[in-house]
Symmetry: C2
């Protein structure tokens, strides 16, 4: 969950690394650090964002053309100066940055302490650099050789970059279950957790595979070896990405920009895949494996966080329209449960980044068991995209705000297409209904536009409710997962303890929480069960809870008793999540802004979670 | 969700009804009221508990031998005097008490207002009594006839009792989807939502069926008619229940008594069903339908609240041991989703009361679709027990504390037996492992005893954490549902906003909530994934969260970094929930007591939820 940058070449490394770290802050921003080789080894590190590091080194000598840098998301040891990366061993030669978790660090640490090593941080990472130092010292080995041998003794996940004062012409990197790639420039090389740190210098990259160690020098270029010490040829790809797409385009925050992009991103997710004129829905990844889908016994969706919520909507969509039983599982739970899987089952993984460690581990298990695996991913070329048998990208573009918005609606759009396509193949819905849904789906982007026009009204409501420290979100059917997602959004960026529930469950416990200090956000746009949700709202009002309701235009009953009402256009029931989630995203955004939170980089979080 | 009492006989009705209402307060206690026929019609009603009503009528004339009473759980209209039952029409003849929801009350109310009726409350109930009055007036009809015709025009769920000033010898009752039964004494009759109001007078009862109207007079006794006006013979049963079982037995609260009963109730749930000597697990209800279970395609568990959490544990148990795919659904969601069900699927309903309206509605749907339905229920003879094809009682005895404890462990015990029995039949686990689990299961009651001895230590921790307004509960695998249940317990009785999560999901959002004000309750008794949960605890500690951990005796790693640790005996992993939930129950109990909450009757809640 941390960000790694490395550079070796003919230019000054410091500014290239610092700029790269700033671009990687979406991966974590608890602390930052840099190590530069110049005659000796200069290390600077500091708790807080990269900005603090930049300020710190302003007056120091950081000249040199070889270096590594790190922006951290804490796992072991709290985010302070001493736990910041790079970490060093005891003899002052090595500096190392690390993303991931060394699971057997406690055992290794004891052994190293017995050898006389002393430690100055609480991190698992520091153990690794000491281990490399020890192995290097014992055998008088080359850096890359010592790294390779050390990694053979490590359990866990890692992407690392290492430099050695006594080998001033070599940069070493390695990965296992955490992303790392090498950028190949003009007689210069980069290392990054993704390509953004060096995209303005080169678009030619090599993705490291699990277990590979890269040794980079200006003389010999990039050399790759696996853990068994076999040389492996690098596979160079050319990326098609624009660095400008990473900017805020005038919005105050990335999150707001991304909320407003949704009419376009939902359209992008459908582009070329849907046509009401031809009465057609086509997902290329699905067509390839159509037979397996049609004969599927069960579909299991694995995901985490926001993607888990879109998976729940996928369950409603696929069961409702295509009549195939669907189970949605937290990836982390699925992984450790010896799940029941056969070759007639299909596992769908949903992940914005395509690097979510829990989801990847789940997929590897599913693959072992012979299930077909399908990915719904945003990041092109990401680990999950490469691991799956087939899949559909959501094409939402880079999502920088830590709280996912456009990726969520992109995922739901693709799941809707998937359900519709399967329903068509299985003849589980009538042609008329299919055509109605396709036509309505094409109208969604313009209806989202319409909802975005309510922004001022929603901002006003946010001001009214901002001081409550708790919140409940209620919905039924298709809008139950939307309630979960609305609550997660508020949690993530405003630190308000919000929780989602199926509306009817409230009276089985959570209703005890309701009094005049508890705002209750109700989505009541379902046509089915509408009477029931009106009763649920009555129950809240009877206990003096404050109700903020999302209703269809012209709704009368709830409008009369709720404190605030947000009207949205109506649509077919299976498509309501794509509309009803928008006001909840805006509400969370404005509440967080009102509370003075750091919307795009909320505390404790990281954009993509690459540790289990 | 309300409690209804009625009496007609030769004794004074007031004291019998008030005492009956006190016994029914577990069904709701927002307000109470009574109506007595004596020359005229005397009505008294008051917001608050039955105690307030008792005080109010002390100095009034409530003599008379026919009357009805009500203790309310508000659904329409807040809990105040005017919304309390009984409700009257406009001509002063009728008084009516009601449990349930009249869904089409708005339409009926408009029509009645057009006829000149005026209303004095916000309830749906008042509409019903006006409707009866209007029909009675139009046709100059007998009371029971007017009630029957009115009910034909009503949508929703109800149990009602009605008296008429001009018919001083008649008591009328009716039910649809809410429980109601008639007690038959010695030339006297009772009506009740359950038998507790009259158990000391008679044990002979008639359970009303959906759509039946009971007309009771001392001359003709009990007469039953269905909505089509056909006379139906009453089926009289004799109950085997002791009223003393309803008392607190010296504990300060029912909840604490029920927590301490668990070594016995878990044993009761296993009694006669398990023998390690004979290497045997037998559930009679299952044996009857063994073939259908063994050939089952899928098992779908439907439940609400605490029972939903035991269902989730059931999913882990059955999938893990018997390798049959299981899906757990909120009953309310299942009901409105057109679920995929075939005759090869089995639906298991879990409900303490056996009267949970959402669960009943789900079962009716499942039955229509041809699935076999199986009940795991506490209340013998309850609606769900009568509706299912087969089932297993948990035999926990009456549970009075609104927060379910012994019913939860009883449900989990029965689900464990079910999974073991299926695993045996399907040969999905080895004989050795089967035998190990059976032997370990027999040891659970004594291990629960051992945990209960930690009560003082747990009380001390409760004092330390009581002032935090929020809490997170984390667990993995079998202990993930335990985390959900722990959070629900705290919510219900202390009004602290507690939420459960699978431990690994924390970093996908909820970790943003963590700071020094957020206690985090972690259950880390799993052997599998233990390393991972240690990492999760590290992540919390790194952000200054306060960790209270449930660990196995002798655990070292978490014990070193957590603020508080509760040690429990170890057992086989599938059985851990039966142990790990106990300290969480005690913690919730002591926190609520420290906060001065009404533990047995928390605000806004009712023991069994008989409205959807």
């Amino acid at each position: 969950m941390c960000g790694i940058v490395g550079y070796i070449g003919h230019r000054q490394a410091d500014e290239l690394i610092i700029k790269g770290l700033e671009r990687l802050e979406y991966r974590g921003y608890d602390s930052a650090g840099i190590a530069i080789i110049n005659n000796g080894l200069a290390i600077f590190k500091k708790a807080g964002k990269v900005k603090a590091l930049r300020k710190m080194i302003k007056t120091s000598d950081t000249s040199g053309t070889l270096g590594i840098g790190h922006t951290r998301w804490a796992t072991h040891g709290e985010p302070n100066d001493k736990n910041a990366h790079p970490h060093m061993g005891n003899n002052g030669r090595l500096a190392l940055v690390h993303n991931g978790i060394i699971e057997n660090y406690a055992v290794l640490k004891s052994a190293l302490m017995a050898e006389g090593h002393t430690f100055s941080s609480d991190t698992d990472t520091e153990v690794l650099v000491h281990l490399i130092e020890e192995i290097q010292k014992e055998g008088n080995l080359a850096l890359e050789e010592a790294v390779r041998l050390a990694l053979n003794r490590v359990e866990g996940a890692y992407a690392i970059a290492v430099v050695d004062r006594n080998n001033p012409g070599i940069l070493v990197g390695a990965r296992k279950q955490s992303p790392l790639l090498v950028g190949i420039g003009d007689n210069e090389f980069f290392i990054g957790s993704d390509a953004s740190p060096f995209l303005d210098s080169t678009k030619r990259v090599v993705y490291l595979e699990d277990g590979q160690v890269a040794c980079i020098s200006l003389e010999k270029g990039l050399q790759l070896r696996n853990t068994a010490n076999e040389e492996q040829p690098p596979f160079i790809q050319t990326l098609d990405l624009q660095i400008e797409a990473l900017e805020k385009e005038g919005y105050e925050h990335f999150m707001l920009k991304e909320i407003y992009e949704q009419p376009k991103t939902i359209l992008d997710a459908m582009r070329g895949r849907i046509s009401s004129k031809e009465s057609r829905v086509t997902l290329r990844g699905l067509e390839e494996y159509a037979n397996r889908f049609v004969r599927a016994n069960r579909i299991i969706i694995v995901a985490c966080g926001t993607s888990y919520h879109s998976g729940l909507i996928g369950e409603y969509l696929i069961e409702d329209l295509a009549r195939i039983p669907v189970e949605v599982e937290y990836a982390s739970e699925f992984r450790y449960r010896n799940p029941i899987l056969s070759e007639r089952d299909i596992v769908i993984a949903i992940s914005q980044s395509g690097e979510t460690a829990d989801t990847m581990a789940a997929l590897e298990l599913a693959k072992q068991k012979g299930a077909m695996i399908y990915g719904i991913v945003n990041s092109v070329g990401s680990s999950i995209a490469r691991l799956t048998d087939a899949g559909s990208y959501i094409h939402a573009g880079p999502e920088i705000g830590v709280a996912s918005t456009k990726a969520f609606t992109g995922q739901v759009t693709v799941l809707t297409l998937l359900a519709l396509s399967l329903a068509r193949k299985l003849s589980t819905i009538s042609n008329t209904y299919f055509q109605t849904l396709v036509r309505e789906l094409e109208l969604i982007p313009s209806k989202v536009e319409e909802i975005l026009k309510e922004n001022d009204h929603i901002k006003y409501i946010a001001k009214e409710v901002k001081d409550h420290h708790n919140a409940l979100y209620l919905g039924r059917g298709y809008n139950f997962p939307v309630a979960l997602e609305g609550a997660l959004k508020l949690k993530e960026i405003s630190y308000v303890h919000a929780e989602g529930y199926p509306a009817a469950e409230m009276k089985h416990g959570p209703i005890a929480l309701i009094d005049e200090n508890m705002p209750v956000y109700v989505t009541a746009t379902n046509k089915s069960a509408y009477d029931k949700i009106v009763s649920n709202v009555q129950e809240v009002v009877a206990r003096k809870g404050r109700v903020i309701a999302i209703v269809n235009k012209g709704e009368k009953l709830i409008a009369k008793i709720a404190d605030h009402v947000i009207e949205i256009p109506s649509t077919e029931e299976p498509l309501t999540p794509l509309l009803s989630v928008i006001p909840l995203q805006l509400l969370s955004y404005h509440i967080a802004v009102e509370l003075g939170r750091n919307v795009d980089q909320p505390r404790n979080l990281a954009k993509s979670v690459t540790v289990e």
